[in-house]
């Protein structure tokens, strides 16, 4: 060391060093916690599920699927967008209403109702389903996905959900 240049030694030195390290970790951690939370929380937020009304349940003819749509407000970060979703509603012979997600469980195309053959058909890879949603033909790994639904005061209510495609089981996204 140069002439006249001094530096603390021994326990004095180690006190300075240790305190400095302690202080920097303290500042580091108190910043890291809020900042990491800030960045990751929106990524793991689930969409809010609300009961959406599809209209009067009485109007549904038995055994005749009906494409029904409703408009909902979707919140995407700070933006709110209005989207219209279409679903298939079928009044089964026992009077209960099944609501199918409009998305084919194979790879996510939109399927249609074939009036002549009385079957749901997917144009993409040819999956075919009957009125109950059971797979009749094609590569579909599972029956059509049903959505939670209920009837209140004659109104058909549904909760919109999406599921992973291509799996044998229905797994919510």
């Amino acid at each position: 060391m140069e002439d006249g240049l001094s530096t603390p030694v021994g326990t004095r030195r180690s006190f300075f060093v240790k305190t400095t390290v302690f202080i920097s970790s303290l500042i580091g951690i108190s910043l890291a916690v809020p900042l990491i939370g800030y960045i990751i929380t929106p990524a793991f937020q689930r969409r809010k599920k609300e009961w959406m009304s599809l209209g009067k349940a009485d109007a549904l003819p038995v055994g005749e699927p009906k494409a029904m749509d409703y408009t909902m407000t979707e919140k995407d970060g700070w933006q709110e967008t209005q989207t219209t979703k279409g679903v298939w509603a079928v009044k089964q012979s026992n009077g209960e209403v099944t609501v199918f997600s409009p998305i084919c469980p194979h790879l996510g195309c939109g399927y249609r109702w074939d009036q002549q053959d009385r079957l749901f058909k997917c144009p993409c890879h040819g999956s075919i389903y009957d009125l109950e949603g059971t797979v009749k033909a094609g590569p579909a790994p599972r029956p059509l996905d049903t959505l939670p639904s209920k009837i209140e005061n004659g109104e058909l209510l549904v909760q919109y959900e999406e599921f992973k495609s291509g799996l044998a089981k229905k797994v919510e996204l």
Binding site: T7, S24, Y38
Partner: protein, 440 residues
């Protein structure tokens, strides 16, 4: 473990000599609490950079989204209010740290030969920091942001000959709008950071070339030097912790409010600049008529030129305060003026009773719909319909008023008050105003 890793890297990158130069820099006269201002400034700048990057994650610099995204950060993202608070209070703190740093350098005569260049770069750094403050203020796109920036830009417009040209460049067009916010954003997060990084590096480079000034007392400086590490580093760290503690405490406990969304048509809004511009704001009140434009551009120009030239104006090599009476006296005079103006301004600001902006809009509605052609309010207007001066004493019920404005007959049958076409916001503003009409 850590030392094994260090050894491994050291064998490859030869870090030892680097460590020597970085940490064993001699501090003339030893480490001291006097030298913490520079590192406090650097620390706060780092904090601003870090929180700024995180704010950018959700912020959108567009007139139709900026306000919503700031709301989103403030109210919806986990910890968002804290990150925004740190950035806001950090901005104030960094200005204060710079002020103290400059005062210390000024008092100690540390700007004198051979450190003129360091002072010079320091003044440029100060200007860049003010640029950060000015461009950042607009970004939330609330009323305060909009109108304060309007004022700031108009001040630039008072520069002779090129004023109009500069204003257009700043705004990016005829009016303050989409093009302004996007260029202020780019300046705030890209141009200025690039410039300031370069400036800080230069400032530190010069510091290392000429060495720290040390105490102005020759005898003390001669007594010997101490290495920068570990004692000065320890002192700096303690100060950083204190500064960080204060800023986080403020961010934690004092919410930085967001005014209403910027509304270019609402001329009733009175913006207030950040406190570090307040003394200047106050000064302008004393610049009558033709002096106004001169004060808005000539004074700042003189101020900055004076600062830049200080080391060349003050050629006395002596650093002892006792032999620099004139310069120190001038500095003190300047401080007294600044703080005098600041306190007058603060006193005035607190003297003005703060009115809820919604109530102010309510008052405007009363004028707009000529309510006083029938009603009397505190001595103004006509007594055809009930006097409203203390109406909230009689009717403190908010819903009643809302209903009443929508359809007067429905709540007071036989009333001849007409229905007014008010939207929900107007109804709300008007009711807020009416409910303030009570005796106290």
């Amino acid at each position: 473990m850590a030392s094994r890793l260090y050894q491994w890297i050291d064998q490859r990158l030869k870090l030892k000599p680097l460590e020597q130069t970085l940490l064993n820099e001699p501090i003339p006269g030893g480490a001291s609490w006097n030298y913490i201002f520079g590192s406090a400034t650097l620390f706060l700048f780092g904090l601003q950079a870090l929180t700024g990057m995180f704010l950018m994650v959700y912020y959108v610099p567009a007139t139709d989204h900026a306000y919503d995204t700031v709301q989103y950060i403030q109210h919806e993202v986990w910890g968002g209010w804290f990150v925004r608070g740190l950035h806001h209070w950090g901005a104030s703190a960094v200005m204060m740290a710079i002020g103290l740093h400059m005062l210390q350098v000024f008092f100690d005569g540390a700007y004198k030969r051979p450190r003129e260049l360091m002072w010079f770069v320091g003044i440029i750094l100060l200007a860049i920091m003010l640029g950060f403050g000015f461009t950042g203020y607009l970004l939330p796109w609330d009323q305060n942001a909009y109108w304060a920036t309007q004022v700031g830009i108009n001040m630039v417009g008072s520069v002779p000959l090129i004023g109009d040209f500069l204003v257009k460049i700043l705004r990016g067009g005829e009016t303050l709008g989409a093009l302004t916010i996007s260029r202020f954003f780019a300046i705030h997060v890209a141009f200025l950071p690039a410039a300031i990084m370069f400036g800080i590096m230069l400032h530190l480079f010069i510091l290392r070339r000429v060495g720290p000034a040390g105490p102005h007392d020759e005898a003390k400086a001669k007594a010997g030097s101490e290495t920068f590490y570990p004692r000065q580093v320890f002192m700096d760290a303690v100060v950083m912790l204190v500064v960080f503690g204060i800023v986080s405490l403020l961010a934690f406990s004092v919410e930085f409010p967001l005014a209403d969304r910027a509304d270019p048509s609402d001329h009733s809004f009175i913006p207030v600049p950040e406190w570090y511009f307040l003394f200047f704001y106050q000064l302008l009140k004393y610049a009558p008529g033709a002096w106004g434009p001169l004060a808005t551009w000539l004074l700042p120009t003189l101020f900055f030129t004076g600062l830049l030239l200080l080391p060349f104006l003050d050629r006395n090599p002596e650093r002892q305060p006792s032999s620099r009476r004139v310069v120190l006296g001038a500095g003190l005079g300047f401080l007294i003026i600044v703080f005098g103006l600041l306190s007058i301004s603060l006193r005035d600001l607190y003297a003005v009773p703060k009115r809820d902006p919604s109530v102010v809009r309510g008052i405007a509605l009363v004028e707009q719909f000529h309510c006083k052609t029938c009603h009397r309010i505190h001595g103004e207007g006509v007594n055809v319909a009930p006097d409203l001066s203390f109406v909230a004493d009689r009717r403190p019920d908010r819903d009643w008023h809302l209903q009443h404005f929508k359809d007067p007959q429905s709540v007071s049958p036989g009333s001849f008050m007409p229905k007014f076409p008010l939207n929900d916001k107007q109804l709300n503003d008007l009711t807020n105003y009416i409910l303030t009409l009570k005796s106290e």
